[in-house]
């Protein structure tokens, strides 16, 4: 994909200033990320300290697909807990003891802060310290906030990973550290490719077992697999890691550039990179071609939700030929998105934050062929005649890497193909 590097002259300067919106936001809060985090680390339990709303949110977002005895739950605050924080702390200790008794396999317990726990200033870091003393040697108790007043949707993962970072052992050994939850199969594949490229030590955060945390230190080169890990990246850099600048591994081009950037950081010759990756790129593009036929020329509107919007827009426009009407993002981290913004076509309209009513007016005016949005908005837009793609599916599906590019494109092509396939005449 040397050509893509050549066309990179179009710098971010060619983008009009983003629309900055404030108003009603139709996004999940950070608690939602528990849904995929708990699957990644089967020996961890996520205990939300919050209200019935929090419990209902996680259950509704998760749907019934993971109904089996879940490794997450909610300690629901009652009126008595609000009346006295001393009581609330005692109650929390009681619940945690009860939970650990029932689930002896738990090795790491995350206390997850919520809007109500933040507002009543229930100090969960103190609670975690206290519980660590009570259950020393048996379970590690950590805390982070997934509250809606502080985090959106995927930012919950950023918080959870930051809670793990202080526990990571120090090491100055040379290694590549991939941060961000990947599907296990995708992770194996990517690590295999890095080995092939000549990077010997590759570690992942979060690990598959919460107790087997990777090391970090001056020899660590950090590669982000997800674009929503601002705090994690900062904390790892503080521990000595060096952040590799790259677009994110979505699509053939993004995934290749992502791996090539890692290879470059390890001083691997571009010829070796080409030798390993070019056949994959060629195959990936071949697999992508039929999806591109469905998607090319179609107009795409992305509503802010998962924070994956900018990399996806880049992939869908550059590799699938879609036309970008508006690319919304809950917040714009220009540092982490720098490489992505450079690749967006000139003139792409970004929007940051949300005023959902005004944004929906723009959607109706523009009549895009496909809208990427949350579950609350999908059916209403379908009923207005627009095809939609649920953004939450993107965080549950294996979409990273060159080999997955066609699958990723297919997620967007399917709603369009379905519309074309239906006929009631």
């Amino acid at each position: 994909m040397a050509s893509s590097i050549a066309t990179r002259a179009s710098a971010e300067a060619d983008l009009p200033p983003p629309l900055k919106e404030s108003g009603q936001r139709e996004v999940f809060c950070g608690l939602t990320s528990i849904v995929w985090l708990h699957r990644r680390m089967p020996d961890a339990f996520f205990l939300v300290v919050g209200s019935r709303t929090c419990a209902h949110l996680v259950q509704s977002a998760a749907g019934v697909m993971i109904f089996a005895e879940p490794r997450f739950g909610t300690a629901i605050l009652g009126e008595r807990d609000l009346a006295g924080l001393a009581d609330a702390n005692e109650e929390l200790d009681r619940l945690v003891a009860q939970l650990l008794e029932r689930r002896p396999e738990i090795r790491t317990l995350f206390l997850v802060g919520s809007c109500p726990s933040e507002v009543i200033k229930l100090d969960l870091s103190k609670a975690a310290e206290r519980l660590n003393r009570q259950h020393a040697g048996r379970v590690m108790v950590l805390n982070y906030s997934g509250s809606g007043i502080e985090t959106t949707f995927t930012q919950g993962e950023d918080g959870a990973l930051q809670a793990l970072i202080p526990l990571m052992p120090a090491s100055s050994e040379q290694q590549l550290l991939i941060a961000g939850t990947l599907a296990d199969a995708v992770e194996d594949r990517l690590i295999g490719l890095f080995h092939k490229l000549g990077i010997e030590r590759v570690a992942s955060l979060p690990p598959r077992r919460s107790t087997e945390l990777p090391a970090v230190g001056p020899g660590t080169k950090l590669l982000l697999a997800q674009p929503f890990l601002s705090g994690t990246a900062r904390a790892l850099v503080d521990r000595g890691a060096e952040l590799i600048r790259a677009p994110y591994p979505f699509g053939v081009e993004g995934s290749r550039d992502w791996m090539a950037a890692a290879a470059a950081a390890f001083g691997i010759a571009p010829a070796r990179v080409a030798e390993v990756l070019d056949p994959l790129v060629e195959r990936g593009q071949r697999a992508l071609a039929p999806q591109r036929e469905t998607l090319a020329g179609k107009r795409l509107f992305l509503l802010p939700d998962s924070q994956l919007e900018i990399p996806l827009a880049r992939f869908l426009s550059r590799e699938c030929g879609m036309e970008l009407v508006e690319v919304g993002t809950p917040y714009l981290d220009r540092q982490l998105m720098a490489e992505e913004l450079e690749l967006l076509p000139a003139g792409t309209q970004l929007s940051e934050g949300q005023h959902v009513e005004n944004q929906l007016l723009r959607v109706r005016q523009q009549r895009p062929d496909l809208v990427v949005c949350g579950l609350g908005l999908a059916n209403p837009l379908e009923a207005e005649g627009m095809a939609t793609k649920w953004s939450i599916e993107l965080v549950f599906s294996p979409i990273h890497g060159i080999d997955q590019a066609a699958d990723l494109a297919e997620l967007f092509a399917r709603p369009l193909r379905r519309r074309a396939a239906l006929s009631f005449a």
Binding site: R25, A88, S147, I149, E382
Partner: protein
Amino acid sequence: MELTLWTYEGPPHVGAMRIAASMEGVHYVLHAPQGDTYADLLFTMIERRDKRPPVTYTTFQARDLGGDTAELVKRSIADAVQRFEPEALLVGESCTAELIQDQPGALAAGMGFGALPIVNLELPAYSKKENWGAAETFYQLVRTLLKPQLPAPGTPKPDPARWRAEGRRPRVNLLGPSLLGFRCRDDVREISQLLGSYGIDVAVVAPLNARPGDLQRIPTADANVCLYPEVAGTLCSWLERQFGMACIRMVPIGIGATVAFLREVHSVLDLELPAELEPGADGVCEAERRSRLPWYSRSVDSTYLTGKRVFVFGDATHAIAAARIASRELGFQVVGLGSYSREQAREVRAAAAELGLEALISDDYLAVEAAIAEAAPELVLGTQMERHSAKRLGIPCAVISTPLHVQDVPARYAPQMGWEGANVIFDSWVHPLMMGLEEHLIGMFRHDFEFVDGHRSHLGDGAPVAAPAEASPAPAMAAAAGVGLSWSPEGEAELAKIPFFVRGKVRKNTEAFARERGLAVIDSEALYEAKAHFSR
């Protein structure tokens, strides 16, 4: 503080949303943090609604907390009123907003919206739940809209038979059907038709598809039908007290309940009871022929339903109705009855006592699952939660109550109430069970070599692999028998002759029997002893 993994009910503001989203012309401004908008998907995904619920969220964030969140509330209210031009406005807060005490209802009242009815919803999020929130919202909304019509104290009660003097057909309101309720859409159609067939009109259906103006017509009816007590109970009692409106409280789910409902309607409205609703010499009335359930239940194929062990759990209304149908109209044996509706616990306890059971009142789905496992039923009638628990336990299940899943909102007409509701119930409860003749044949052919554990396909894939559980007593099973208790090879062989679908139960019963008798080894004799013991 209470540990919850999955919850039967959402918070009370979700109940308020159910009322707002069920209606037309109502808008709800909810002071709530970013993230609480998840509740929209309950309506657009589970109910497959083609429009967003009429809710404006303030979606405040941490940075707003330092500033003036009250200003944000006012901005949101002003914006919503201008954009949606509601005929009535609900204003309330979710759990987090309750803590910051901006009093959004009071703010709205001071904003000068003139004649726009504004309902200030105070729904305590830390002590109440969804159904309570729905009932309270429905009541507060109607109370606000009927304020100008409140009769002066001492006004005589309107006569439910005044339709006669007024020279018109009698009419009733159907109160309580709402979105995210169980089959409300179809129940309303079924009950409207049913009442129509006896010459009774429906004045107002609410909240489902009603406008605020419709609610103002509630007093024009001769009586109220409290179709879903979880949502309409509070309102019906208030209308009884303040407007003297008679209330029909029998919920017409099942044959007996439908007949009782019709008799209550006729009695309240002072209508002459039609002959078909009069009980015959055998206690059966002609009207029940309008449903197929009574005949299907009496037909010979249904003999196999006799004494089937059934566990019932749901909201109070549906659980009580299901227990009655199961025990009386299908000849099942109800081995467990419970509800998560604490507000109606008394009624559930009474229904359970009638069946010689102690009601399980709990909103802990694990306690319910444990109770199911303990009762060892052959069929579970429950909510979406019990569907999953039953699946884990390997027991068939039919869903009879909220909370529901998208598949519990069927495209076809599938009421629970009235004659057609009884037909739907017969089909959906009996289908998960094995058909009578099928069960008989399996019993007859169970020793044939083709008939081994699991189902074999007629596609033919060669001789069946010997079922592992039969070939050698698995160590796991020996362990399951408990300390100091084991099965002799001969006992295992005898057990293997029992059809697989009851074998687990027989094994469990036999082991309990053996423990009780202090037996160390279970042989075929012990098995038959146990069989005799349990068949008494």
